[in-house]
């Protein structure tokens, strides 16, 4: 059998986290009773007119800037006409040939680049609920602003798609334009997929798998569809250009519609909206207050702060955690801070959602103060660890949990005295050590720690004890 490669391009819909819908003042809040976040405009009542939300333009341009897009200074809205009950005007207001952003890119860790063709703004449709042979329609989501991010057919594996989506998700969250919650449908994607024999230069016929809102399903769907197409070609068949749906129950993709006229959207300029102009000043402003992007943050953590790559990636994955880390690590040992966060703090925030929301038990400044004490030699790691746990339990700063005596440190003379006492009071252990049982050292160290309430530096104590025992 010949070797095949899959070729995929992505269309990702990202819901923008504006307060109001794209063309009216109704809230975008999730949940609630059906048809309660609605008005004449977003239910398409006769005579109503759209009025574009300024923040939608801003967020879309910010998304474009974060993905290296060229921003079109002049753009416009168009109507995409199709009749479906979730679309109350029978057209979706979208952008056709003059999107806000074009020609961006996202770099993958394997060195490949995914080219972004365009980013445009559009309105979401309502929600359909199918019950007892009827369809119920709720327009609460109708008119929620979306950006659609379209890539070139640059993906060669499901892993690349996953990494791209994760990076995209993280980027949008970091710049604050979307919360990208897949489970609430605020990030969903359509995959265009084709296969070709390895070495071939031409593209095969593609199919489009619609509306996937989970990484797992996306990976399964891509794997299934790739296999399906290869099997089809190998058995002498041809791939038909069509839209398919991934059925989660069967794990298969199935044809959604073969209707020949389904895709004639009759785009034309939306006459109810005027030209959108973005100024150089606005772009400069938005570029200037763009937060550090995940890619740059990762570079800084690994190169400048010398964090292990895996640790850096874990911190960067959660923008709020990363911000917490940045604040706590100001001027102190970054690895120490990272270890506290990835260890003790992460144990308190076990789920992804908790790390996302990052309800921190203590402010970053407290962790910073703890790390500063360690850096200054005033606190050894053992005591620091137990203290941090106490801080997380109580929400109190270091100064409330440790006495002056705890922080006074241990001078060499005091340590020597304690070590001498340890040797004197543990003759059996000393004998074992002399007989070559290194393990017995533990008992002596234990004595020292107990006597110093954990303030002694284990390394220094071991050296001193060895010296005393001879």
């Amino acid at each position: 059998m010949r070797q095949y490669e899959m070729i995929a391009g992505l269309e990702t819909h990202v819901e923008l986290s504006t307060k109001t819908k794209i063309f009216c003042g109704c809230t975008t809040a999730f949940g609630s009773e059906p048809n309660t976040h609605c008005c004449p405009v977003c239910t398409g009542m006769p005579g109503t007119l759209p009025k574009l939300n300024a923040r939608v333009v801003e967020y879309a341009v910010r998304a474009g800037l974060a993905t290296g897009c060229r921003i079109n200074r002049i753009s416009k809205m168009d109507r995409k006409n199709y009749v479906y009950p979730d679309l109350p005007k029978a057209y979706q207001i979208s952008q056709y040939d003059k999107p806000l952003c074009e020609w961006g890119r996202i770099e993958l860790s394997n060195g490949r680049t995914i080219r972004i063709t365009r980013i445009h703004i559009e309105e979401d449709a309502g929600k359909l609920v199918h019950v007892r042979g009827n369809t119920l329609v709720d327009y609460n989501r109708g008119g929620v602003p979306l950006i659609e991010i379209v890539t070139e057919p640059d993906f060669r594996s499901a892993d690349e798609i996953r990494e791209y989506l994760e990076t995209l998700q993280l980027t949008m969250k970091t710049i604050g334009v979307s919360d990208c919650k897949m489970q609430e449908g605020s990030l969903r994607c359509d995959v265009n997929i084709s296969v070709r024999p390895v070495g071939s230069e031409t593209f095969g016929t593609r199919t489009e798998i619609k509306n996937m809102n989970s990484f797992t399903y996306m990976e399964k769907a891509v794997a299934y569809e790739t296999e399906r197409q290869i099997d089809l070609i190998e058995s002498g068949g041809t791939v038909v250009q069509e839209t398919r749906r991934y059925d989660e129950a069967s794990g298969m993709t199935e044809s959604m519609r073969g209707k020949e006229d389904a895709d004639d959207y009759r785009y034309f300029r939306e006459p109810d909206l005027v030209t959108i102009a973005v100024t150089d000043e606005q772009i400069e402003q938005w570029q200037a207050d763009m937060p550090e992007l995940p890619r740059h943050r990762l570079d800084r953590y690994t190169n400048q702060l010398q964090l292990p790559a895996a640790d850096a990636a874990l911190l960067v994955k959660y923008p709020r955690i990363a911000a917490y880390f940045d604040e706590a690590a100001q001027g102190v040992n970054a690895r120490t801070v990272a270890n506290f966060i990835l260890g003790a703090l992460f144990r308190r925030l076990p789920t992804d959602a908790e790390k996302e929301n990052a309800a921190f038990p203590v402010p970053a400044a407290y962790l910073h103060d703890l790390a500063a004490l360690i850096d200054g030699g005033k606190l050894n790691m053992n005591l620091a660890k137990t203290t941090f746990e106490k801080m997380l339990d109580t929400g109190k700063p270091v100064s409330d949990l440790l006495t002056q005596a705890d922080l006074a440190g241990l001078d060499a003379e005091a340590l020597a005295a304690v070590c001498r006492a340890a040797v004197e009071n543990n003759p059996a252990a000393v004998a074992d050590i002399r007989a070559g049982k290194e393990k017995a050292m533990g008992a002596l160290i234990g004595y020292v720690m107990k006597a110093t309430r954990g303030k002694a530096d284990a390394g220094a104590a071991t050296a001193l004890l060895k010296q005393l025992i001879g």
């Binding site: 059906p34 048809n35 309660t36 300024a54 416009k76 009827n134 709720d138 005027v274």
Partner: protein, 94 residues
């Protein structure tokens, strides 16, 4: 000359039902109307692009929430709807 088949296709896009009895006369009407539309081809081609009747830009709205309408108002023209929803025929295909 537009054919009955083309009229059927356009009617399908426009979500209009055309009966067998109507199709003949409708095609004739449409052929006349399209022939009339074709008279724009008599005009000299102009290369100057035309974008919009107005030169307005950025008629934008601030992102400030305004009260939505009560559900019963939204559903007033469908006798209150069903459980807070608009109801229609099963829309799933197949």
């Amino acid at each position: 000359m537009i054919t009955q088949e083309e009229i059927r296709k356009i009617a399908k896009l426009a979500k209009l039902y055309v009966s067998e009895e109507e199709i003949g006369s409708l095609t004739e009407d449409m052929a006349r109307i399209i022939a009339f539309a074709d008279t724009i081809n008599a005009a000299a081609d102009t290369q100057e692009p035309f974008d919009s009747i107005q030169s307005l830009q950025n008629a934008l709205r601030e992102d400030v929430v305004r009260p939505s309408y009560p559900q019963e108002e939204i559903l007033r023209n469908v006798n209150g709807g069903e459980d807070g929803y608009f109801r229609t025929k099963q829309s799933r295909e197949g």
